[in-house]
């Protein structure tokens, strides 16, 4: 079953002659539990695609359907709620809130939603992410790899419809990169978590079920990897 459908998505930055077509009529679908890698060179439009799926930007035209609902039919307020519940975002530079500790950063979307934190899930994630004993640490007291694990924890905390990761290993050394990829892979397998990961690391891409290659705002290749 398709959990995510992208249809005819176009995003144009700027106006007139300066207009840049970051995405040009992109369409594809992702089924539930799928692990998709989006690859492409710098400036190919892959980050734009991710942000549009994540509801942090608005497309020039086209639609994104998540769980059958049109993301951009929502108001800004509804979009905020949508981001809390349906999407988990992981960035290259972690983007943790500097004044919040590990558990607070992880549970921020739940708290913003005004719900009580599921202690079992939080505990499970802390174990899985290897952050036990660091619950009270602030981001600056953690290494890069640890910060990225907190960011992944934040993305997974709500069991969103889809986790979107933008170069999650781009800022990490090889060992940490492998570890992070493994975490994403494991979450995908163990929780059936749908994942869309942007990367230009071929090795990481190969860990995915499917690779979508984007170039100049268009999908140039969409292939499933058979294991």
């Amino acid at each position: 079953m398709d959990i995510l459908t992208v249809s005819h998505l176009t995003k144009i930055y700027g106006e007139g002659e300066a207009a840049t077509r970051a995405l040009d009529d992109v369409s594809f679908s992702v089924t539930e539990g799928e692990f998709v890698a989006i690859v492409g060179s710098s400036g190919s439009g892959k980050s734009t695609l991710l942000h549009l799926i994540g509801g942090v930007d608005r497309p020039t035209s086209g639609h994104v359907l998540l769980n059958g609902a049109d993301v951009y039919a929502r108001s800004d307020e509804e979009l905020a709620v949508f981001r809390r519940r349906e999407v988990g975002l992981v960035y290259q530079f972690y983007n943790l809130v500097p004044v919040l500790n590990v558990v607070e950063n992880m549970t921020l979307p739940v708290a913003l939603d005004g719900r009580t934190v599921n202690q079992d899930r939080l505990g499970g994630l802390l174990d899985r992410l290897g952050l036990r004993g660091r619950e009270g640490h602030l981001p600056r007291q953690l290494s890069g790899g640890q910060q990225q694990r907190v960011a992944i924890g934040r993305a997974l905390m709500n069991a969103p419809a889809v986790v979107l990761a933008d170069e999650p290993t781009g800022n990490l050394d090889t060992a940490n990169s492998r570890e992070i990829m493994q975490l994403l892979r494991d979450s995908n397998r163990d929780f059936g978590q749908t994942m869309v990961v942007i990367t230009h690391d071929e090795e990481i891409a190969l860990a995915a079920d499917r690779i979508i290659a984007v170039e100049d705002g268009r999908i140039v290749r969409d292939e499933r990897i058979r294991r």
Binding site: H51, R84, L96, V99, N101, E104, A111, L112, L122, P139
Partner: protein, 1024 residues
């Protein structure tokens, strides 16, 4: 040009807006400082000019008995460069004056022989004619021309001249030294007075004031021993009294080239000098050049010359200027500091980048410092120009009014730019700029390269924040403890609270600028309030009409006696006491009527005298009405009365301690020093009709009836304002006379007696004047128990809320208004009433019309009145009002300018810090929003943070501004006693409102910027 310099200049160019904003801040700071200092130097220059105009340019006066010795020393000192110019004034004897002349010109005609540039040095300028040029010529004070028979230029006068000689007062023995002799009207300089012994027969020189044992408490009187007669040709008059002509024993007449035998007594040298910077230096020069001579310094001048005075008494203005300068400097430091701190903080990434390519910390610091210097190099000169320009424009507009206020209208208030002031303004601004960049530069140089490059703002959390964060890790208690913020602002409030508790900066910058804004606005507010009060009080109550004539007769002359000296007393007012001082005359006439003096006889004599005076004044009014251009408004007589007022009638003012003159007596009623106004019948009838009463009810001479005025001016313990003095109608008793064992009581004072005859409380204390022959006389209190008192009941038929204009508006105690016709039968204890006639005059001519009226009154009283005039003067109300309005306008414009400038600085500062504080965190906001922070939650978070900043800024801000207000109050109250410290609440509210508005606007703008920032863009700001 090295790489860092190039980088600095390029970055300044690249960030045009920020650079311009910073430069504008520097310009503003430099301009304000320049303006404050230039105002100060200009004022100083004006006061200096005015002082030289009034008193001359002399800096020290050196005295000596031997003229040749003094002159030789002065010449030597001039040759040695110790002094510049010298002028001399030598005692040339004292002219004897007739008793009539003494009223106008003082005890003697002091003769002083001058040489040197007395015009410049001593400001002795003829108002008419010229200075004497050869022996036998004389310049007199202007009253010689105007008073009495009048002397004109070209006339000759012959005066008996002699020496003043000390004579022991009756019953006294011994001698005393000069130091014990009261000052001669000048001031005592830094050096010790010569201790000349004075004994019986000692010849007194001009440095010794008039000796009158009864007045000065000494043992000597003096007399003039006439030695000859001199005749002079009058060549000129002077009308302003410079220091050298002002002495207690009379007006000075100036001569020159007098023969040596006429020049006996003291010689004075007036000197100027260059290159002295303190009073001590002036003293030292004098001591070197004129060893062992007595000298006095021209302190008034030295102060304005910028010569430091030891333990200088600062004027209100200089105090205020000092407080304002400090406030402005703080404001400027904050403005520039913020501009730089923010500009550096915004470029943290850039500095990281530079560091990553090998820039050393020193290089980074220097880059920032260079940037500051470039900004200062552009901003400071511009600021100086703007400051001077602003001053020039302001002075051009307000100068004449300002000069008038400071009593220097002839001099004018001109722009005076002092190089040192510019240097100080420039230096202070540059220092401010350097100080303002030091902290940011230091911070910039310590930027962690990697953090900077990653845009990692982990430094946002403080160490204590980390500890707090660690404690908040218990999963079970996650997001608990929301408190009030959490309840009101929800999740946003909770995030704000966490940020506040764990953040490193805690919005400190914003709080500081908020506090500063409050301080600035309240400073402006306090200044406006205090200066406003100053002008209001200075304005005071104003009488009806444009000009008023005020007169009072003296009781020295028995009715029907010789009254020829009347008119000469014009302008020589001895003060209100004159009336009481002469009470003996009336009462003596009462005694003359019979062998045994009765209370009834005293009352009768007083009533008769009062009726007679009232009749004379009534005629005077008819005469004055015919003065051209004088439009009659009305006339009245008033005087002080001692009243017993029943408790039921008394207002709260008398119940408060010391608010007004009077208080509760042991029997419960109140002893009040009040006043009675006898208003001309027609005007009185109008008042009565206005109050809805029948004028005919007030005409019965056997039952005096009056209108009372409910309010009076007084100090309520805080400010000078209208207080309730009379609240109900009823009958009061006026003390009309008192007799103590055959002695007539001169008057009744009110005093508090802890153990009086009637118990504790206020009571009337009867007193008599001691007929000491002296001018003022002294009083002796009598035991109330021995005094037989006559009272007259006066029924107060109505209490007016508002005093009629013709009554002179509000008084300072209980005021009763009665018709003039009552004057025929009742004095109510008043012996010599004050005559007040009011007239309107054509606009701008009130002064001249006033003079005409006084002259007409003088002539009338001289020719027709059987009494001696104790007091005759003119009040130019219209002129006073005009000058008060000018003062008020200047004060208002000044306050407005100051308030606007400070408000601009304050608001700019708040805006700068708040918006930048938000913009610097936009990446953090983007993160929160990307994980689902809704706009509503975002707003709640920011509003909550702002509330916290405000709360933290307001408390210290208010405390600090109270301190500044208090300092300003101290400065202002120096020139105005009775002004109590008050918090300008209206301005507190305004300051709160403006600050809140500024925060609101800043937040709205900041949030707009953060929101307009695409979340995606904000998140991408990963690198430089």
């Amino acid at each position: 040009m090295n790489a860092m310099t190039t980088f600095t200049i390029k970055s300044l160019r690249a960030n045009k807006v920020r650079t311009l904003v910073t430069i504008a801040g520097v310009v503003l700071a430099a301009a304000l400082l320049t303006a404050v200092l230039t105002s100060y130097t200009s004022l100083q220059a004006m006061l200096y000019e005015a002082e030289t105009r009034i008193a001359g340019t002399w800096m020290a006066e050196v005295q000596g008995d031997d003229f040749d010795g003094l002159a030789a020393q002065a010449q030597e000192a001039q040759a040695a460069g110790q002094v510049n110019d010298v002028a001399y004034l030598r005692d040339a004897g004292f002219g004897e004056l007739t008793e009539q002349q003494q009223n106008s010109f003082g005890r003697y005609l002091r003769l002083a022989d001058f040489s040197g540039d007395i015009e410049t040095l001593c400001s002795l300028r003829p108002s008419e004619g010229r200075l004497p040029e050869k022996a036998g010529e004389i310049m007199l004070f202007d009253t010689w021309r105007t008073a009495g028979d009048g002397v004109e230029v070209g006339d000759t006068i012959t005066v008996p001249v002699g020496e003043r000689v000390a004579v022991l007062a009756p019953g006294r023995t011994g001698s005393m030294t000069h130091g014990e002799v009261p000052a001669s009207g000048g001031f005592v300089g830094g050096m010790e007075a010569a201790e000349d012994e004075i004994a019986e027969g000692t010849v007194l020189d001009s440095s010794i004031g008039y000796l009158d044992a009864a007045l000065d408490g000494g043992i000597f009187n003096e007399e003039l021993r006439v030695t000859g007669e001199r005749t002079y040709t009058v060549v000129g008059f002077y009308d302003n009294i410079p220091y050298v002509a002002s002495h207690g024993y009379g007006m000075t007449a100036f001569t020159c080239d007098s023969p040596d035998d006429e020049l006996t007594g003291l010689n004075r040298a007036y000197v100027t000098m260059a290159g002295v910077d303190s009073t001590a230096a002036v003293e030292q020069r004098i001591e070197e050049a004129f060893p062992d001579r007595y000298a006095e310094l021209h302190m008034g001048l030295l102060r304005y010359m910028g010569v430091r005075t030891d333990g200088a008494i600062w004027d209100t203005f200089f105090n205020i200027a000092a407080v304002l300068a400090v406030v402005i400097i703080v404001a400027c430091v904050s403005l520039i500091y913020n501009a730089f701190a923010i500009s550096v903080a915004e470029r943290t990434g850039q500095f990281g980048l530079l560091a990553s390519v090998g820039a050393s910390r020193r290089q980074l610091r220097r880059a920032v410092a260079l940037e500051a210097l470039i900004v200062a190099a552009i901003g400071v000169p511009l600021g100086l120009v703007v400051g001077i320009g602003g001053c020039a424009v302001t002075f051009a507009a307000l100068g004449p009014s300002l000069a008038t206020i400071f009593g220097a209208a002839e001099v004018g208030f001109n722009l005076s730019v002092a190089p040192w002031a510019l240097a100080v303004a420039a230096g202070l601004t540059v220092a401010t700029v350097l100080f303002s960049v030091f902290v940011p530069a230091w911070r910039a140089s310590r930027v962690n390269v990697i953090d900077a490059l990653r845009g990692n703002q982990s430094a946002r959390a403080s160490k204590r924040g980390a500890a707090r964060a660690a404690r908040a890790a218990n999963p079970a208690k996650l997001w608990r403890g929301r408190g009030i913020a959490g309840r009101v602002f929800g999740m946003g409030g909770l995030l704000a609270r966490i940020n506040e508790k764990r953040g490193a900066s805690k919005g400190m910058v914003a709080s500081v600028s908020l506090a500063l804004a409050i301080v600035l606005l309240m400073t402006a507010g306090s200044l406006s309030t205090f200066l406003g009060t100053l002008t209001k009080v200075a304005g005071g109550p104003v009488d009806a009409g444009d000009v008023g004539v005020v007169a009072m007769f003296s009781d020295d002359t028995v009715p029907g006696g010789d009254g020829t000296e009347g008119a000469d007393a014009a302008g020589n007012a001895p003060g209100a006491e004159g009336a009481d001082a002469g009470a003996a005359g009336v009462d003596a006439s009462a005694q003359a009527n019979g062998d045994s003096l009765t209370l009834e006889a005293v009352v009768e004599a007083r009533n008769a005298r009062f009726a007679e005076e009232a009749a004379v004044y009534g005629k005077a009014w008819e005469v004055l009405k015919t003065t051209p251009d004088a439009e009659p408004v009305g006339w009245r007589l008033d005087g002080g009365v001692s009243l017993i007022v029943p408790e039921a009638m008394v207002g709260d003012a008398f119940k408060a301690d010391g608010a007004l003159h009077g208080g509760q007596m042991a029997d419960g009623s109140f002893a009040v020093m009040g006043s009675v106004v006898y208003l001309e019948d027609a005007a009185f009838d109008r008042c009565v009709a206005d109050a809805g009463l029948n004028p005919a009810d007030f005409r019965d001479p056997t039952e005096p009836r009056a209108l009372g005025v409910g309010k009076a001016y007084g100090n309520n313990g805080a400010v000078y304002e209208l207080l309730d003095v009379l609240t109900a109608t009823g009958t009061v008793q006026a003390l009309t006379a008192g007799l103590c064992e055959g002695e007539v009581v001169s008057g009744f004072a009110v005093a508090y007696e802890a153990d009086g005859a009637n118990g504790a409380g206020f009571d009337f204390v009867p007193y008599v004047f001691e007929p000491d022959g002296a001018d003022g006389g002294m009083t002796r209190n009598l035991d109330p128990a021995d005094v037989e008192t006559a009272t007259t009941p006066v029924e107060v038929v109505a209490v007016l809320d508002e005093a009629p204009e013709l009554v002179g508006m509000y008084g300072e105690s209980v005021q009763l208004i009665v018709p003039m016709s009552l004057a025929a039968t009742h004095s109510l204890g008043i012996i010599d009433p004050t005559f007040r006639a009011s007239f309107d005059a054509p606009e701008g001519r009130s002064g001249e019309v006033g003079d005409d009226l006084v002259n007409a009154a003088g002539t009338f009283f001289h020719d027709e009145a059987p009494f001696e005039v104790a007091f005759l003067a003119m009040n130019d109300y219209a002129g006073d009002v005009a000058s008060n309005q000018t003062l008020a306008m200047v004060v208002n414009v000044f306050c407005l300018l100051f308030t606007v400038i400070l408000a601009l600085i304050a608001m700019a500062n708040v805006f700068n810090t708040v918006t930048n504080g938000l913009i610097l965190r936009r990446r953090e906001f983007a993160v929160m929003r990307s994980v689902g922070l809704s706009n509503r939650q975002f707003r709640a978070m920011i509003v909550d943070e702002c509330v916290a900043w405000c709360a933290r800024g307001l408390v210290p801000g208010v405390l600090l501004s109270l301190l500044v207000s208090w300092l300003l109050w101290v400065a202002v109250s120096g020139s105005l006693s009775g002004l109590s410290f008050m918090v300008p609440w209206a301005y507190v509210a305004l300051a709160f409102a403006m600050t809140a508005a500024a925060v609101g606007i800043s937040v709205a703008y900041g949030m707009h910027r953060c929101k307009a920032d695409n979340v995606v863009e904000a998140l991408r700001m990963d690198s430089v």
